[in-house]
């Protein structure tokens, strides 16, 4: 693949006090691909996501998205550039309806100014109807349209995880970072999530995935990076990663043994 580079990370280090979570990490995300980041618990995967999306400050290194440095930008500014993430720990607007969750996600797509809102201009009402339509379309896309009117807190776990993706999609990402989107899903839900991921990809959205479910990772990824103790120990195609002795020793070995046994 000779696609253009979407995100370039170079020499990224992340520290929490004395603890080094990520140490001089360098990699690229290419336009249109599905890139996965794997590694044992505590390897630094979520920390890397947090640094890219502005939730923690990098101790060193550079993060450049389509020519713009993300270092020092706030999470909402990074989202404005088209880099949107989901969270490892389920994160929705619990007290709001499913539809309202997605409407909040549509924030960047709406144009209402505070003055127009206070004056009650017809353009605001028009846009609200349009946004509701878009929100429903997104819910149909992830398969949650039947739940539109329900309060998020009443959804079963698998659907909550879908709602998180719907909210992220509403923000119109060009690069979508998913942190363990299928953790806690049953095999059937995971299988349908893999289909959804293919559809997301079909929209031209680049996907950067953190996941422990190796069946899914191997099935959907173009390339995989393996992280161990904050350092990249391998990168390559799924087949290469599966054969890499260091990856097998540090991470895959136990997982495959567990999955097969």
């Amino acid at each position: 693949m000779t696609a253009a580079t979407e995100l370039t990370v170079e020499g990224l280090s992340i520290r929490f006090g004395g603890l080094t979570a990520v140490e001089s990490m360098s990699f690229e995300v290419k336009e249109g691909e599905v890139l996965s980041l794997i590694g044992p618990n505590g390897a630094g995967k979520t920390s890397a996501f947090n640094a890219i999306t502005g939730y923690v400050a990098a101790a060193g290194g550079s993060i450049v998205y389509r020519g713009t440095s993300l270092i020092g930008l706030k999470p909402n500014e990074i989202a404005t550039l088209g880099v949107v993430r989901t969270f490892q720990k389920t994160s929705v607007f619990t007290g709001q309806t499913v539809l309202d969750n997605v409407l909040i996600g549509l924030h960047l797509r709406s144009r209402q100014r505070p003055i127009a809102i206070l004056l009650g201009l017809p353009s605001v009402a028009r846009e609200e109807r349009q946004l509701a339509e878009e929100a429903r379309a997104i819910l149909r896309f992830v398969g949650l349209d039947a739940r539109a009117g329900e309060v998020a807190s009443s959804l079963p776990y698998g659907e909550l995880r879908l709602l998180e993706v719907a909210v992220a999609l509403a923000a119109k990402p060009r690069l979508l970072l998913l942190d363990e989107p299928v953790s806690g899903m049953n095999p059937a839900e995971t299988a349908s999530f893999m289909k959804l991921l293919a559809q997301i990809r079909g929209l031209g959205i680049t996907v950067f995935l953190v996941e422990h479910d190796m069946k899914m990772v191997m099935g959907v990824s173009d390339r995989i990076i393996c992280l161990n103790y904050g350092r990249i120990i391998a990168s390559g195609s799924p087949a290469e990663i599966q054969r890499n002795p260091e990856v097998v020793r540090a991470y895959l070995g136990e997982r495959y043994a567990r999955a097969q046994g």
Binding site: S91, T94, T97, L99, I104, H107, L108, E128, G149, A168
Partner: protein
């Protein structure tokens, strides 16, 4: 507009026509002023989830600014720098009050950028205390504890042609009612829009809100500004109604009263502060009319408040809404059209 709303409005507008007891009108006016202030507090507390425990500062600023503008003043801003202003028409003073209170809200919002929860409470409380001390001690400007007296009443129009003067209670009642309805409409527009959703998002899950591009600080500042301007309007109306203002308008108990109204009525609901405001604004008067001893009155007030908060932690309006949903529409509860109703 729904029929129930119309009926309520018609009833409220008709009150001065058949209610001849001026004391009752006075109580309604004061309650209405408090309801406006409570609605403004609800925008912050209920929708952005940030507790402004110095909210009375904006109310007091509105009262003082409008009074001073309409009385005129001469005061030293710095030693040797004399600021002088001729008396201005009351409506202009009220406009200044709303603007300056709104500006103060903007400043507080800016200061509290990154400041949430307990820190927001501290910033707002400190602000209110500073303003109270200024009102108390800048005697040249505010007359301090001697109070600003003889504040003129609002007059609209010109004496030659047609003049509306808000000297008497029915006129003031209508003024409060109109401003309250206007405030309600503005808040409703706000919370049922992109801006309101951003505020709710800040309240419910700030990291998630920022991840989808919501500049939460911007909307917190907007909420604080609108809220402060509205409280300022309430303060201005108050000043020209009672026509005397002293530093006691900044008493902490007034903020607490507003918080009680919002919390018992239902924070984060449009009707909550109105319901809470009516109950806890009228209750003391009803108890007094029933000739219950003052100390017992306050016990009843306190016990009722605790009961509401204990048994209806969400507030009265959400409790009624849930109850109606359960008892009146069990069959339609799952139907899709329910989703169109904004669940705020």
């Amino acid at each position: 507009m729904r029929l129930v709303t119309l009926a309520w409005l018609a009833f409220l507008f008709s009150i001065p026509l058949w209610m001849s007891d001026l004391y009752v009108l006075h109580v309604l006016i004061m309650t209405g002023i408090f309801i406006i202030a409570a609605m403004s507090l609800n925008l912050l507390l209920g929708y952005t989830g940030q507790l402004s425990l110095g909210h009375v500062a904006f109310f007091g600023i509105g009262a003082y600014v409008s009074s001073l503008a309409s009385l005129g003043f001469e005061a030293h801003l710095l030693p040797g720098v004399l600021v002088k202003m001729e008396p201005k028409p009351v409506w202009l003073g009220m406009l200044c009050a709303v603007t300056i209170a709104g500006l103060c809200g903007w400043v507080i919002g800016r200061i509290s950028f990154k400041v949430r929860g307990a820190y927001f409470v501290i910033v707002t409380v400190s602000f209110a205390e500073v303003i109270r001390l200024v009102a108390l001690n800048w005697v040249e400007l505010t007359q301090g504890p001697m109070a600003l007296n003889n504040i003129p009443a609002l007059r609209l129009g010109t004496p030659e042609l047609f003049e509306l003067s808000f000297l008497r209670k029915p006129a003031n009642y209508y003024l409060v009612l109109v401003v309250a309805v206007l405030s309600y409409i503005l808040i409703r527009r706000l919370v049922q829009s992109r801006a309101g959703r951003a505020m709710i998002a800040l309240r419910e899950n700030e990291p998630l809100a920022t991840s989808v591009g919501v500049d939460v600080t911007k909307y917190l500042v907007l909420a604080t500004m609108v809220s402060a301007a509205m409280a300022g309007a309430a303060g201005a109306i108050y000043a020209h109604y009672v026509r005397i203002v002293d530093p006691d308008v900044f008493l902490f108990i007034y903020t607490v009263t507003m918080v009680i109204m919002v919390v018992t009525g239902g924070k984060g609901t449009l009707a909550g502060p109105v319901v809470g405001g009516l109950i806890f604004g009228l209750l003391p008067e009803i108890l007094r009319a029933a000739e219950i001893k003052p100390e017992v009155q306050w016990v009843i007030y306190g016990v009722l408040m605790v009961l509401v908060v204990y048994f209806l932690p969400e507030g009265i309006v959400p409790a009624v809404r849930n109850w109606r949903r359960r008892h009146h529409e069990p069959a339609t509860a799952a139907a899709p059209p329910a989703s169109i109703e904004p669940a705020r």
